[in-house]
Amino acid sequence: MADETLIPLLEARGISKSFPGVRALDNVSLHVRRGEVHALLGENGAGKSTLLKILSGAQSPDAGQLFLHGLPLGHSQSPLERQRAGIVTIYQEFNLLPEMSVAENMYVGREPLRFGLIDWSALHEQSSRILSMLGLRMDPRVAVRTLTVGEQQMVEIARAMTFDAQLIIMDEPTAALSGREVESLHRIVRDLRQRGISVIYVTHRLNEVSAVCDRFTVLRDGQFVADGRVCDHSAADLVRLMVGRHVELLRHRRHRAPCEEALRVEGVSSQPASRTRATSLKDICMNVRAGEILGLAGLMGAGRTDFARILFGAERCSAGELWLKRDRVQMPRSPSEAIRQGITLLPEHRKRDGCFLQQSIRQNMSLPNLKQLTRWKLFVSERRETQFVQKYKAALGISMASDRTPIGLLSGGNQQKVLLARCLALAPQVLILDEPTRGIDVGAKSDVHELIRQTADTGVAVIVISSELLELLAISDRIGVFREGQLVAEVDGESATEQGVMSLMAVGTAA
């Protein structure tokens, strides 16, 4: 356990912040002690992001005061000044320059100089020292774009260390990491704590809280709910504090008669074509029945997303055969072809590949479905579009003030529901969901799970990719495990255990 010093490193007292129409934070307090890992918990929309922005200096509060080592911090400081004061924030979307090297990224704007020119040897030496201090075997000369997401995260941490950080704020650091990468992140976080550096750790994965965090603060609807020591509270306690109601993440077993096969593939292989696709698939054979939920488990880079994108025509395979409802068909060559064949994909990166952020909820939802909303096959009917949006708003429980607001203003969970509505309206036979609950809060998560079950109940074959094993175990009828480009096992959803699947993912054999 961390050294418990009584003077907090950082204290936020009575912080309030309002935006037009929303009170994002209302009299919130936060105490972070020296050398502790402090979990900041709450559903999406609880005010965590706003609090982080205030701590990092990106926004100033309407009321309240921040103290560092008991001394008041000015409000109007910029993020750069906060970094110099030792408070460094690592956002979910990294702020790295992909074409530049690790060392350049760590010292960007503050490169060591000699005679007014960049002193490359000093730059590499200093960055190597920090990297090895963090136990990272990484060449500071390689370009950041060649690194995995997990390694890029490490670069962000190494960059924070160059500021002599006393407090590192990590916003959902493991959202995009695979199991092994999460482990090494946790190791580094514990190591930072050993060095007396404090960490504010925002996460939706509660098992991480017990794994690395010492204390926690829970926010709900912009208000402080509770703080305390992690060891005094169970995960169920924390969930109850976050949502204010009891959420069961138990398995809901569905009972249905086996249906006919909806999709079958044989011998799907691919080349590691580009740097966005590091994995090559080897001879994947798999089927999924109508009304079945097939979960795909695997570590990051195991090939699940590549496989999904190939089925959807978003990427090409080098070999492979496809049957839909027992009819031999050609592998789709484009997403539009896949959609015509009845295959639809909810992409992995919601904001990058799913949303049109500048556009309204309405436009986002109806885009691929406009054909059914036109008059004389030409003009989009406002009336029909409104009915369409209202229908799905009600069916999926999307909360929004108006369907004319930009989708970027919705919470992650509601954005995902809009995109799910978009997919469902295409009336697919096979629906592929890639990380459908990534970065969304606990309440929205169980809503999405329920929607997945309902969709399968209508006879749609659903394939779900998730990095959260508990999620797969909770919703899948059957789980396929990917490892290094191969489908290494298929297990029954009912009898599968977390340890069993994890072992298949990590070493390829059951525990």
């Binding site: 978003a314 990058r352 590949d353 799913g354 049109f356 500048q358 885009l367 406009l370 036109t374 989009v380």
Partner: protein
């Protein structure tokens, strides 16, 4: 409504009205029917191209070659008539079809090079800017072609119920563009394409065909504008349309479109085009040296976008 929202939504329109009032108070001839009609006619030819450019810029592309394509289309049309011994009847229809066809073809080439060879549209059309102008000079060895018949000239100098023909055509093109943008699937698809090309592809849109289509559209309209310009001037010059790309892009951008795509609209573009038209005409009337005009127009482009960003920032925070 807050001032910043008002400025954001109607800023350019307000500036347009203010400018018209200011010029009018300086010189009474400015607001005469004859002068206003002349401003509109001047604006029309660029404006027709700007309607097409609006689609291109919303799709996150740009077309620098419109001026050269316009010149090439006008020259080719006149040359075809000349080649056939001034014989085809009616000559204007022959010329119109040639100009529009040549424009569409040039746009198709830009679209295909951009989508198939993955050359950024800035580069493709920068090449086009030079290449089509060269082609224009080749057609008649750099010389002008004139002596069009009255039927041909009517398209540039005639009027329908007192409204100059180019203005009528601009009004038709702009209305169609507005309807397509606001009420059709195609219009919505173009916004989606410019908003997020990967999300558009994964939503099942044929992004290559859509991208090509906007260049074909702007090329076709450049061809139409080239035909109208030659009819108005009574000759096809090898330099026709030089520098149009700047004026056209400026109209779209002043009208509120963002070069990063996904936003903008034909309505704004029309106001942008009128703003530039009023400004150049008004400055001439006030006897301002034409060199200053260029400077003023340059400043207005930058100011309009700065004002827009400022208002947008205020409206958001």
């Amino acid at each position: 409504m807050k001032v910043s929202t008002l400025v954001h939504r109607y800023g350019t329109a307000l500036v347009l009205v203010a400018l018209a009032v200011a010029f009018g108070s300086q010189n009474s001839r400015f607001l005469s029917l004859r002068n206003l009609s002349s401003i509109l006619t001047d604006v029309s030819i660029c404006g027709i191209v700007a309607v097409g450019m609006t689609f291109v810029i919303i799709s996150a592309g740009v077309d620098l070659a419109v001026g050269s394509v316009l010149g090439f289309a006008a020259m080719s049309a006149a040359w075809m008539i000349k080649l056939s011994g001034w014989d085809p009847h009616p000559a204007w229809m022959f010329a119109l079809l040639t100009a529009v066809g040549i424009g569409a073809m040039a746009g198709y080439v830009h679209g295909k090079v951009t989508t198939l060879l993955r050359v950024p549209p800035f580069i493709t059309t920068l090449g086009g800017l030079s290449a089509w102008r060269g082609a224009t000079l080749l057609v008649n060895h750099g010389g002008p072609i004139h002596d069009f018949d009255a039927g041909y000239r009517w398209w540039g100098t005639g009027s329908i119920a007192g409204v100059p023909v180019p203005v009528v055509i601009f009004a038709i093109v702009a209305s169609l563009g507005w309807v397509v943008q606001k009420y059709t699937r195609y219009g919505r698809h173009i916004y989606a394409l410019g908003g997020n090309i990967e999300a558009a592809r994964l939503s099942g849109l044929n992004v290559r065909a859509l991208t090509t289509s906007v260049y074909v559209l702007v090329g076709t309209l450049a061809g139409l504008a080239g035909f109208l310009l030659s009819a108005r001037l009574g000759s096809s010059e090898a330099t026709a349309g030089t520098g149009y790309e700047l004026r056209v892009i400026a109209s779209v951008v002043i009208g509120g479109a963002s070069l990063s795509g996904g936003t903008g609209g034909v309505g704004g573009t029309i106001i942008g085009a009128l703003l530039i038209g009023v400004l150049s005409n008004g400055l001439v009337m006030m006897g301002v040296n034409s060199y200053y005009q260029e400077i003023v127009i340059g400043l207005i482009i930058v100011l309009a976008v700065a004002l827009d960003s400022f208002a947008k920032g205020r409206a958001q925070s």
